[in-house]
Each structure stands twice: as C-alpha cells, then as structure tokens.
Amino acid sequence: MDVSQYLDIFLDETKEHLQTLSDQLMILEQEPDNMDTINEIFRAAHSLKGMAGTMGYKRMQNLTHDMENVFSEVRSGNLHVDDHMVDILFQSLDALEEYTDNIQNTTEEGTNDNDHLIKALNAILNGEKSEPAAPAGAASKEEPAAPQESENGKKLDKWREIKLGDTELTVMNKAVNMDKNLFGISVFIQESCILKAARAFLVYKALEDLGEIIVSEPSAQDIEDEKFEFDFSMIFISDKDRETVLHAIMNVSEIEDAVVDPIDISQYQVAETEEKPEETQVVKKDTKQQPAAEAAAAAPAKKSGGKPVVNRTVRVDIEKLDTLMNLVSELIIAKNSLVSAAKNSEGMGNTTEQIEYLESVTTNLHESVMKVRMVPIESVVAKFPKMIRDLSKKLDKKMQLIMTGEETELDRTVVDEIGDPLMHLLRNSADHGLESAEVRAQRGKPEVGTVRLNAYQDGNNVVIEVGDDGNGIDVEAVKKKAIERGTITAEQGENMTDKDIVDLLFLPSFSTAKQVSDISGRGVGLDVVKSKIESLSGDVEVKTALGEGSTFIVRLPLTLAIIQALMVEVGKEKYAIPLGTIQTIEDITPGDVKYVQGKEVINLRGEVMPLVRLNEILDCETETDPEANMLVVIVKKGEKLAGLVVDELMGQQEIVIKTMGKYINKCKIISGATILGDGDIALIIDTNTLI
C-alpha cells in the first residue's frame, strides 16, 4: 500500500502523541500513581505503535511496542513507576523523536535500532533493575555505544546487554523452530590472567565444538585483539543441554565464573515477517562486523536530509474557516451591490455606502486570514519542561520551570523561528543564571531554582519573558571583561550606564561564563538570539538585579504582513507609525520642552520622556513655526516612552508592509515601506529604534 500521501498526517499526529507522552511522563515522574496519566500514556503509545506499523516504520513500531508493554504492566498494577523507569522512557522518547526527525527529512526512519532501549524496557518488564541503558544523551545521537558496563564486573547476566539485530533474531527464531537450545552466556576470566585473549579463544573453540555462536559482545575480532576487560558475552545455539555447555566453558583454565542461561525467544518480540535466507547463511561472518556496519549505517542517515521533504502546515479550527467562508460570501455580495450601483446612475449616494461596506468586509477578512495563520506558542514551548528536566539532571541543579501564557498566539512563521532563541535563553538561565545549591542555601533562597517563561500579548506585540531567580548579571564583571577584551576602553566603561553594559552581552562572541559548559557559554549565544529576533522584527532587552535574578524580555510583532498604522507628515513626506506602539497623541507648547543632559525632554503627567524631532532624524526640511505648538506622538516600548514630533496627522490606515530590497542600505529607523491608496509610497518608522 502506498502510504506516502498520509505522511503529513502521520508526522503531525506523531508529534502530537510524542508531546502528550512527554507531558504525561513529566506528570508521572511527580505523581507515580496517577492512574489517569498512566492511561493517557498507554493510549498515546498504543496509537503511536499502530500508526508506525501502518506506515511501515518497523523500528519505531518495535520501540513503541515495548514501551506500551511497560505501560500495560504499570496499568494493571504489576509494575511500579520509579525514576529508573521514567529515565528509560524519556530516552525512548528521544529515540522516537529521532525517528520522527529522520522521517521528516528523508521519509526513512533511519537505521538506529536502539536495541539498548528495547532491552532496558524488557528488563523493566522482567522486573529487573539493569544499569541505565547507555549514557543519557548519547542514547539517541550516536550508535549504541561500545560496551560500557565493565565497571562493576560482577553482574552476571551481562549477555542481556548484547545488541540484537534483525538478522540475529531471525537466526534465533529458526534455531528455536529446529528445537535447538538458545543460551545467553557470560564468561568472566580471572583478573590475574595474563593471556586473556588466549583463554577467550579456548572458550570460543570449546563452544564452537558444541554449537554455533550467533553474536558475541565484544566481537570475536575485538576479543582476539584483547580489546575487552575480563568478561565477554554471547548468544549461543546448541543441541546440547545447559550443563554440557557450562562444563565445556569451565574446563578452560583461569575462568573465574560463567553464566549460561536459556533464552526465551518470545521476550524478543521479533517481527518474523521477512525471511532472508541468504543472510542467515553468512551470519557467522556477518556477526563479527555487525557493530561496525551498524554504526556506519546509522551515522550518514542523519546527514542525508537537506530540506525537510514535508511541507509546513497549519491546523485550522473549522470555526475559523467558517468565518472566512462567510466573509468571502459577503465580499461577493458587496461586489455585486457595487456593480449594480455603478450601473444605476441615480445611485451615487449608494456607492459610498457600498464602499464602506466593502471596506468593513475586507478588514474583517484580513483579520480572519491573520487568525488562520496564528498558532499558539504552545507548540514551541511545550518541549521546554522536558528540556529543563534534562538540564536539571545534567547540571545537577534542582530547578523548576514555570510557564504561563502558552496559549498566546503568534504568526506561524514567527512561532517556527522563536524556538531556538527561547531555548537558548532558558539554557542560559539554567546554566549561568541559577546558582549551585550551596550558594543558594547561603543566600537563603529556596533550594529549587525557578526558571520562568511568561508570554502575553501587549498591543500589537507579543512579549515573551524568560527569567530566573538566580544570580543576576554581574555588571562589574561584564565591564571588566569588556575592558579586558578591548570591546570598550576603561574610560568608556566609567561613563556607561548599567544598562549599556548589560547590552554588551549581545555583542558577538561575548560570553561571561567563567567556564565553558556544553550547555551554554561558547560565546555564540546572545548575539545569535538577538539577530534572530531582530530578523523577525522583534527585539530583546534584559532586566537584571545582582543576586536576585535576571529576565530577558523578547518582544515580537503579532504579524508580519499587514498592520494598522497612523499616517503622519514630516516635512512634505509621508510616514507610517505602527499603531500598536502609539500611546497617545499630545499637543505640546514649546515652553514645555525641558533639557536634561543637553537633550530635549518633556514632562507629561509626571512622566519624563525624550523628545525626538523626526524632521532632524529623517533629514527633512520643515517650515513649521518654532513658536507654535507641536504635535507629539507618544510611542512606547515596554515601559519606556518617547515623544515623536510630527508636522501633521493624516489618519489611521491599514498598511501592507513591503521590503525595500537588498540594494538599499538598511536604514535602521525605517522598517519598510508601504504603498498608499493613491500609489504614493510611505516609509514605515520603526519606533523601537528611537526609544
């Protein structure tokens, strides 16, 4: 069956289910007995398995199948949720996410079998507490790592950690079908042994007389090269019984201990669909190269994806579509009325009325289309709780993430882009912001550090604040570093305000972290965040108090294409000021203008704000009488205000933002241009640069 046409839906739903799993697992970690959560997880895992199976993604199906098994046992009360289990489950989630990414980029799921996870899940099912499967983090990215389990060498059933691929499982199945015995064997050589490779070789020899070794860990080649500690494991097929095999091994001298366990093949849940006779014949040679081959295959799979093969989609509420449909109907009616009004020469008065109607319809239509493009930022921020959890483990700091306003909506194009900057800011907060437990205790702060993410709408902007209750930014340290690096001179440093100094952090390659960690601090951080956000026509600022924490405030425009603007005239030129930034419009007498540090300011109802003469900034001539009252547009950015002096107000208008092309040297004050009804061009003033 050709399922490629369902790929979009599959990816959408998979991501949704993965998010559910992640969310619910977070809850489960806190409340291990929450039955609703367990049921929810079970359902999500089950759907995921079904979908992956239908689409033919075997590896994904196998992994979810085992996860589902674990939940099923938890649900029936046979298993109890513990930290270890949650860890393994999270690792499995990471692996599933990797599969999904691969599918999105290449339509293939990749070649990583994640056997260590499957085994770990099975171990949980069997009620065992095995070592955490593979180091966290490495689990999903690299090939299942080389054996790491040697530290406490007395764990006897090491053979369970052998990775089994399809080939091996097929062979094992066949052997069982032929009534042969399957054994998992772990052999421990005495640590005093000098020629351990030779001893291992003798064991191999003895075993090969009795049956067939399917796979060994380390590989036969590695054992020959003495690339192993004092133990090795293998899966072995024989028609002899357990005692004979054990005896044969123990007959080799300098063997400290050996374990021979019969294997129950049903544990391995193999999908016995493909018969590959040619592979089974060469299996003996194959097994030796298997780990290397697997690794080689897994690595390039990741790189092969250039552009995602799947288009970006927006899920639209049917209600929004209905509204759109209605508006389009109204538009047609309005058009028809205009046509008839035009035909009817007597209806001149009627035309104006119809045009007004048309206007209101188009405004509503625009609003609705914008709403269709809007998605809640939830889709981006939902992955953060898990990230903070992982960071908490990695950094060994206790922390919690408090998020509000996940339902705040932004344009889809913006939402897609802000994920990385926000993640960076959160990592920054977790890594540099929060102090270690000892320091927190000394300062009398709660042991668990808090990282906050608040989103809310503010006029035509959406504001996202990322903050922490940690150390805050040490302004003096930043100043010192900047002087050290020659970014500023000592003299400049003296004259800079704290805010100016904090802003230095946004310069390229400026990191104050005393120690570079792999979480943040390579100096490619905040400047990237800033440029990314500026490319979305947004901006970032920082508020910080030493010892109390800092907050990064990201401000993004609600939409990119069409805005409401106030049209003004400066000189003889027309400019547009985005309505969302305008607070009020005031009439100021020249006498009200005061001077602070040589700059013009006005005091408006107790608030002092700088006065910006637009004609000076925009280099245009004005012929207004200096004695006359001034028209001042008060604009705000966060809590800061500024007054822009204009010559004339022309009224409010909906404008379509156009870029001016790359050949024009971007003027910071102008964020774009728009075409007015009469064909003239008006430039749009970016008030954020003036405050």
């Binding site: 245009c620 001016m660 003027c667 102008i670 003239d680």
Partner: protein, 154 residues
C-alpha cells in the same frame, strides 16, 4: 535557428544603449526587466548617497539608484528623456537605475567588444566590462555586478 548560430564563430549579445551627457553606455539586455518613464521617487533617509529613493512599480517597492552619482558625475537633470531602467539580477533582486536617455538596442559579437585593463585611478572604468564598437561609435559596457556592488564613491 540554434544550428545556424553555430556557424558564426563569435557569440553575440544584445545591449541597450543609454546616454549620460554625451557618452554611450551599454547594459546587457538579459538583466533588464523593464524600462519606465521618470516617476515620483520617494526619498529614503540615511541610506547610500547614490540611492535616490524608492518607487512604486505596479505594487512593488523598488529602490532607484543614480548611476551618475555612483560614478561621480554631476547629479541627474530630470527631463522628458529621463528613464528608469529596472534591472533584475539573479531573478529576484530588483533595482532601478536612472539614465539620461535610452537610445537603441544593439547586437554586438564578442570580437567587437574590447576588454579594458583595470585602472584603479579612474572611477568610471571600475564599473566597465569592456568597450564595444558599433558602426564607428564607442559604447562602454557596464559590468552590472561592479556597478551595483555596495561601494561608495564619495
């Protein structure tokens, strides 16, 4: 047609010939999107000196630059012959250039174009790809990449 052109040993290129003062310049026709009459140019503050501003070309906002200012000539004198040539480089980057007059289209084969040696002292020549000879007249051929490159000649 293609087979016929194989017989000629030189590639031919079409140029639009424009005039500044009394010099003639050629612009490769493949970069030309459009030629429009002079229209109102909206000034943009704080940009390169040779950018005259932006115009509205059928709903798109397009920057207009003065080749005269870029080459260090006298500023443009707008009259009824003035045209804006809309250039499209690499498919989507559009810019208009002001010229005194558009004269004609000429076809020059490669052997009629003389490469010129680079002379750092002469600002004008820095934008040229060669000199074409057409019926005894000389046409300086613009190298558009050099012409549009962001280099300020003060």
């Amino acid at each position: 047609m293609d087979e016929l052109s194989v017989n000629t040993s030189y590639e031919t290129t079409q140029f639009i010939v424009v005039r500044f003062e009394n010099e003639q310049y050629g612009i490769n026709i493949k970069y030309i999107d459009n030629i429009v009459r002079m229209q109102q140019i909206t000034r943009v503050p704080k940009v390169q000196k040779y950018i005259k501003g932006v115009i509205n070309l059928r709903g798109e906002v397009i920057p207009v630059m003065s080749i005269r200012l870029k080459m260090g000539y006298e500023p443009d004198e707008i009259n009824k012959n003035t045209r804006i040539i809309i250039l499209k480089i690499d498919g989507n980057d559009t810019i208009g250039v002001l010229v005194d007059e558009v004269k004609e289209v000429v076809t020059l084969s490669d052997n009629e174009i003389e490469k010129i040696s680079y002379d750092a002292k002469d600002e004008k020549q820095n934008f040229l790809a060669g000199i074409g000879k057409d019926r005894g007249e000389l046409i300086s051929i613009f190298d558009l990449n050099l012409l549009l490159a962001e280099k300020e000649n003060v």
